[in-house]
């Protein structure tokens, strides 16, 4: 693994990817905390894993499917769908514009 020192810009870039806004004091603090965590997790390099398959699932299940034509009982009705939002117009969620004309 590469030894990783993060720059301030790295931290801001990660925040942008994750849709987070950081306060100024958070940028410096997260930078050093993330670096500390990343250097700890490099102890995994002490273990050889060349011929090891990555885990996909811990409890040995295989191919779990719904039956054909099974009704999805989880779907909510319109009232339930909108009960927790203020961003409603008719039967739609209002969001910020993402395309220009």
């Amino acid at each position: 693994m590469k030894k990783k020192a993060l720059s301030k810009n790295d931290v801001l870039y990660l925040a942008k990817l994750a849709g987070l806004t950081l306060a100024d004091n958070e940028v410096e603090r997260f930078k050093s905390q993330l670096e500390e965590t990343i250097s700890y997790i490099e102890n995994l390099n002490e273990l050889a894993t060349d011929n090891v398959l990555p885990t996909s699932h811990a409890t040995f299940l295989k191919n779990v499917f719904f039956d054909d034509d099974e009704k999805n009982e989880r779907s909510l009705d319109l009232e339930e769908v909108f009960q927790n939002t203020q961003n409603k117009e008719e039967n739609c969620f209002k969001i910020k514009k993402i395309f220009d004309e």
Binding site: M1, K2, V11, L14, A15, L17, A18, G19, L20, T21, L22, E26, F30, Q33, L34, E36, T37, I38, Y40, I41, E42, N43, L44, N45, E46, L47, T49, V52, L53, P54, T55, S56, H57, A58, T59, F60, L61, V64, F66, E70, R74, L76, E80, V81, Q83, N84, T85, N87, F93, I95
Partner: protein
């Protein structure tokens, strides 16, 4: 008359008409009024009980969606969220005549080991109000320990049931991954999350597990394995081969080690065989957990956009932001192979390590935590401290095996509960419950649970 009665005892009293459901529920509501302001156990108390019903109360961690009852995951993002559907765990409880007494405090999004990351303030340890009750299921642990509920539901990703159970002096059972449905449990790290009971007696843990376990078509990771009658099988006098390993004693407090050795002797006296085994050092599990958990967090918490429900992403607390960012980092282009894939490979090694151990032994005995409950405020000082407190719980969680923590004595100077744990094979909850029951019958957990209740008279 009710103080300290287990859930199964209360049920028997109700059944035999010695007491009514109304009396029981009013009793706990009175206790909550008296002690909750001091302990900060409940975020929401449910006063909507209908007098015509025969029900027994239970506390539920605030990350289980409860239809019509506010569910926050202790985050301001969900401060006013009223779920339009019921989690499978609470649905099964309600169908079995349980009344959801209230929703308990936790670390925000279950990110932490002390409830200090809760946006609604930390839960205090009932044994010492200047200390943490543990976390993330710290509210549920404290609710049981101070008898503000006869039993509670918690959830564990890696330590979040066992560690607070240990610090608050109660029983905490983390079932095998897939034994209990995660549907409606606010997702933290989906490949690890497990709901489970926190109780005063082994019987109660067995009783509740039977109700909440089993295949759920809304959670594809639940197993089709049959659900045994955990309660009935407690009484079988089984003999086990119990593994112990030095790897789990490194850095553990001397008094906790003493309790561990004391229990080893008692188990031998009861006719069980103790066998020394070797396991991978738990420190690697911290790294695997840190990578996988953060990765899954960054993906699971991406859904909180404040459009369909809840507040927007500016409401995330500092801990959630930090975890989301690390998760984003380990999954990002150029680093995925070095971190995420490497962690999944080491996870395979950890699973194989447990498989090998379970060829030699039926279960593994170890301390639950390296030290007893910490003072409030300690966690904040070190970014990594929470993981170190969970170090002995993380390997089992990563492998997905079942495990149970129970109290075993108190530290001498500070009078704080000590917790020990048994880790069992995948889907062998029956066996770890059986041995915990034998320990309870033989030692009464050295009187810890009864002593704890004495501090909280009616």
């Amino acid at each position: 008359m009710l103080l300290g009665k287990s859930l199964t005892e209360i049920l028997a009293l109700i059944k035999n008409k010695k007491i009514s459901s109304k009396e029981v529920i009013d009793y706990f509501l009175r206790r909550i009024e008296k002690y909750n302001p001091k302990l900060n156990v409940y975020l929401t108390v449910n006063r909507s009980w209908k007098p015509d019903k025969i029900e027994v109360p239970i506390a539920v961690k605030d990350n289980f969606c409860t239809c019509g009852i506010r569910t926050t995951a202790s985050s301001k993002v969900l401060e006013n969220f009223i779920p339009p559907y019921e989690s499978t765990v609470t649905k099964r409880l309600i169908e079995s005549s349980f009344f959801i007494l209230g929703k308990t405090n936790m670390d925000a999004w279950a990110h932490g080991s002390s409830t200090e990351t809760s946006d609604f303030g930390p839960t205090k340890n009932p044994w010492d109000l200047s200390r943490c009750s543990g976390g993330s299921s710290g509210g549920s642990a404290a609710a049981v320990s101070s008898y503000l509920a006869p039993a509670a539901i918690g959830s564990e990703t890696a330590g979040s049931i066992r560690q607070p159970a240990s610090w608050s002096g109660v029983i905490g059972l983390k079932p095998t991954y897939g034994r209990v449905s995660r549907y409606g449990l606010i997702a933290m790290a989906s490949s690890l999350d497990c709901p489970g009971p926190m109780t005063l007696t082994t019987e109660d843990a067995a009783f509740i597990l039977k109700i909440i376990a089993g295949k759920d078509k809304f959670d594809a990771t639940t197993t089709t394995n049959e659900v045994p009658d955990y309660l009935a099988s407690l009484k079988k006098k089984k003999k086990f081969i119990i593994g112990v390993t030095d790897e789990y004693l490194n850095g553990v407090d001397e008094e906790i080690k003493e309790a561990f050795y004391q229990l080893m002797k008692i188990l031998e006296k009861l006719g069980h065989k103790i066998k020394k085994i070797r396991l991978l050092p738990p420190k690697y599990s911290i790294s695997v957990y840190t990578i996988i958990q953060r990765a899954e967090v960054s993906s699971n918490l991406a859904r909180y956009d404040g459009i369909r429900y809840g507040n927007d992403r500016t409401f995330f607390g500092s801990e959630a932001k930090k975890r989301i960012m690390l998760g984003t980092f380990v999954l990002s282009y150029g680093y995925y192979n070095d971190y995420y894939k490497k962690a999944q490979k080491v996870r395979t090694l950890i699973i194989e390590d447990f498989k090998k151990a379970f060829h030699e032994v039926d279960m593994i005995l170890a301390p639950t935590t390296p030290i007893a409950a910490l003072k409030l405020g300690e966690f904040e000082k070190y970014p990594f401290f929470g993981e170190l407190m969970d170090v002995l719980a993380e390997p089992g969680a990563i492998a997905g095996v079942c495990a149970i923590s129970f109290p075993f004595g108190l530290t001498k100077k500070e009078n704080l509960p000590i917790g020990l744990q048994l880790m069992g094979r995948w889907f062998e909850e029956e066996n770890i419950l059986n041995l915990t029951y034998q320990i309870e019958k033989e030692t009464d957990f050295l009187g810890v649970i009864k002593k704890g209740l004495k501090n909280y008279p009616d």
